[in-house]
Symmetry: C2
């Protein structure tokens, strides 16, 4: 555009969307606001600012420069928050290592990401020592909760707090191009090697503004405002703890970091620090609800976004009974992550807890600037009628450009110009999405889609069923048909016929497509799992045929 | 950056920050939400969407294409809102003509902006007819509130509603570069020709997100949320009605457009449509407060941002007594416009109405992503101590790149890499800014800055003073010294000596710099004004010497 070129004024400041711009104002306006780490540390935003500047100096003195990669292995901590800012703000890339991976996978991600320095909590030194012969990085900083001498064969440059204390407190953060990579981390599918995703300064700033615009403007429910107290309960190594540490910092709220997740400690922190806003996965929430301590803590007014896995309705109802404002958030590693939130309209808040739960457990409505479509296999958008089922594809300014050094999968991810979530869902006329399955687990019976998850859910409701996995197996007539692998409760034996008729009762009621009637059942003693404990359907499909 | 180039995936959707992305989601989720125009028109967001698509078709059939400029002369209306979206969404530039300028100035801005088409309300045809011989555009669309035959010598292509009805209802809006110019309009200084500013899609989207992030997340006061009802009371031709029609649309709230401002009609609309969120200038608010109708309307809960001129404390107190949540917003034509808001912290809300008013009338705290500094004449930042006074300079992603086709003033605007507001202010330790004068009106006495506005305020408090203007005049010893031009109330005569001692009393109390003591007073019969009714200090400085 010729005209627009002439309108560019070389004297005007070229304002790029940089993480440093999120950082300054809230600290200037809330200098006394607190950042808390367990019961161990407590300091002001003013100190936080100083520490981020000191960390930048520390990294620089170690030779870290723009374009380098700095990895972190830590629990949720104030140190991690400092890295969220200091590392990208000097132009380096923050690699948040998934500490739950196997040592072999950790080794792979460190070398693949080309890490130049690793900041590691003392708990993870044994893992690093185990793989150090094959590590391409040989530079470490030790993170410790208590100062104590440690013996290690790694080249440790020093301990974080000691090194930080030696640094000057003002660093001149450069102006970067907003498309500079800021973060990277690895997704763990059920098969294959971990794949690296990456996000730029621009993407993280826009995600922050998008989340604030959606969570902030909700008038009655599920909102995040300047007087909240924030504590993450999804790990900081995973998709920037949903990006919420950036949001919380920009809001200038009190932030509480709980370290390693210990249910009783989490409950104590919620009570003592008056935590009002969190995000969590169902597994951890289940542990909290089962802790005897839960009845000693007043959880009324606690807002919790649940993600990572479907929010079970029973959990949502229990939460509502306890006065917790619980609702679903949806996203994935590839999406920064937040795409949609199951916030309720004022009319919905008039409904009973049970009826509300049916909405709160949905995948939710897309946030501002997120364009979400349900498409068929030809990428044609399906109607928003609450029943037409297809894959969720998205566009938004905060989606990964692709997988790091993996052109083939990057192309597949963006086939047809939309990011493919791999999730199967329908959307209703109000824009609420409900996921029914993963694309790769859907069973295609005579051209119709049958959800393996829905069938599992139905079968699981029989009291004799301990575990179940439903897969599609080849069928001459139908193309595919569903096969349920069932682990029975030995104390409550059941015949194949009985279980089939249980399932067919549900199907007859119209709970799912009638093609589900073609279900076969196979009793097994155990079901294959992946390293992270998910059902390994790929392995099951290879193992079982009809 | 070599590395970053290789990370760009050509298959990924290149999401640009475009106005069309603000437009779709809220309409999809709130199809029945209303847009209201006076008592004349009322339609749903669904219809609004259709009309924007039809308007795009209408403009296209008239030959308007990307890069062209479409001007509008209208009061605040649903039609204007449609232009806010349709014109930039086809890649054209929306020129919002200031209908309060003189015909000569209007002529200048139309030709300078290179308008290709003008959409004009029938009330403004006489102005256009008067200047048509010198207009470089000869293509008009008529906007009418009631259909009636009109005689005009202009080349009118038709009437808006009639033309719209003929168009198809789906337009394929293109993907544009986010740096495409979306809007332009002209500022009117106290002297010289109007200067054109311009804003891109990216800037308007970021301004919208920034405003939502700041107004949305305020927990108790001055917030804008999804259940509000919005009505502008600052004109849509002026800085996009502060950008709030975009914000309101993205929020999906009910919007009320009041046409020409008639105090009683405004009050009726507030009552009938339950308006809860507005922005206004002190002059119009004064008219509302003086309308006999005001006592018939319950204004409790009405949130009003005041800008354009300083919010008088008495007005703020009256508003609070009526239950109106009134506070200052600050910005200018060059800044999109919002830079800061005088929102209150929870502690401040505990204060008395009078104490609160002192905060609410301040210039406020800068929004997220707005970097605001108070600098001295060498562009060195001054401390935030509530007294160090200098010019406000800013950086933010939504500031005009410069003045349209005016390189010299563009350079001056951005001297030193910051946008110069020309406002003189101090900032306190909590980040609240208070403007004390305009840079060009400040009086430099022996190196110290004396605020002409503060001196005027002091002198004005004497009951004998009807009008006052303070200017700096040359002085051999001090460089400059203050001269007050005073129009006296004939019924309350006062001597120069008496008035001087009144002023000096205040100065002695420490209300202003002691250099104010060098004040001289001159009684005059009238004070020069500009065409828009502001005191013409430039003319006064030429006219008066000591």
């Amino acid at each position: 555009m010729q005209l627009e070129q002439t309108l560019k004024n070389p004297y005007a400041y070229d304002y790029q969307l940089l993480i440093k711009h999120l950082f300054n104002a809230p600290i200037a306006y809330n200098p006394k606001q607190e950042i808390v780490y367990r019961f161990d540390q407590r300091f002001s935003y003013e100190t936080f600012k100083k520490r981020v500047h000191q960390l930048a100096h520390m990294l620089s003195t170690m030779g870290i420069k723009a374009g380098d990669t700095v990895a972190v292995m830590d629990y949720d901590s104030h140190r991690y928050l400092e890295c969220y800012f200091a590392v990208p703000m000097i132009g380096a890339v923050l690699h948040t290592i998934n500490i739950r991976l196997s040592p072999e996978q950790i080794l792979y991600t460190i070398n693949h990401a080309e890490d130049d320095l690793i900041l590691a909590h003392s708990d993870f030194l044994p893992i690093l020592e185990q793989i150090k012969g094959r590590l391409e990085v040989d530079s470490f900083v030790l993170l410790q909760d208590e100062a104590m001498a440690l013996k290690t064969s790694l080249h440790v440059k020093g301990e974080y707090e000691t090194l930080l204390a030696q640094q000057p407190s003002v660093f001149a953060f450069p102006d970067l191009n907003e498309n500079t990579r800021a973060t990277t981390f690895y997704t763990t599918g059920t098969t294959g090697l971990p794949k690296g995703v990456y996000f730029t300064h621009r993407q993280l700033v826009l995600h922050t503004l998008g989340v604030l615009s959606t969570l902030g403007t909700a008038p009655h429910q599920g909102n995040f405002h300047q007087n909240d107290v924030y504590m993450p309960i999804t790990p900081m190594f995973h998709v920037h703890a949903w990006g919420l540490p950036y949001v919380a910092t920009m809001l200038g709220v009190k932030q509480v970091y709980p370290g390693r997740y210990i249910p009783d400690l989490l409950l104590e922190l919620i009570a003592k620090e008056n935590v009002t806003f969190s995000h969590c996965v169902p597994t951890i929430m289940h542990m909290l609800f089962n802790s005897p301590k839960i009845n000693e803590v007043d959880l009324r007014g606690w807002k919790v976004i649940i993600g990572g896995a479907a929010l079970p309705k029973a959990m949502c109802q229990e939460a509502l009974q306890r006065g917790i404002d619980m609702f679903t958030g949806y996203g994935m590693s590839e999406t920064c992550p937040i795409l949609s939130l199951a916030q309720l309209t004022p009319e919905m808040l008039e409904l009973s807890n049970e009826e509300q739960s049916d909405i709160r457990i949905k995948t939710g409505r897309s946030m501002g600037l997120v364009e979400m479509e349900i498409v068929d296999e030809q990428m044609q958008p399906l109607p928003h009628d609450g029943k037409s089922t297809g894959e969720i594809v998205v566009r938004s300014p905060w989606l990964t450009q692709g997988y790091f050094k993996d052109q083939k999968n990057s192309e597949l991810l963006w086939a047809g110009g939309y990011l493919h979530t791999g999730d199967v869902a329908y959307m209703d006329e109000k824009g609420y999405v409900k996921i029914t399955d993963r694309v790769k687990d859907i069973i295609k019976v005579g051209g119709e889609w049958v959800s393996s998850l829905e069938l599992e859910d139905i079968i699981h409701q029989h009291p004799s069923v301990k575990e179940v996995a439903v897969i599609g197996v080849e069928d001459e007539k139908w193309g595919e048909r569903p096969l349920a692998l069932v682990v029975c409760d030995n104390l409550k034996p059941i015949s194949e016929k009985e279980l089939l008729s249980h399932a067919k009762e549900f199907i007859k009621k119209g709970i799912m497509a009638r093609e589900g009637m073609l279900l076969k059942i196979l009793f097994v003693s155990s079901i294959d799992k992946t390293s992270v404990g998910k059902i390994d359907k790929k392995s099951l499909r290879q193992k079982y045929t009809l």
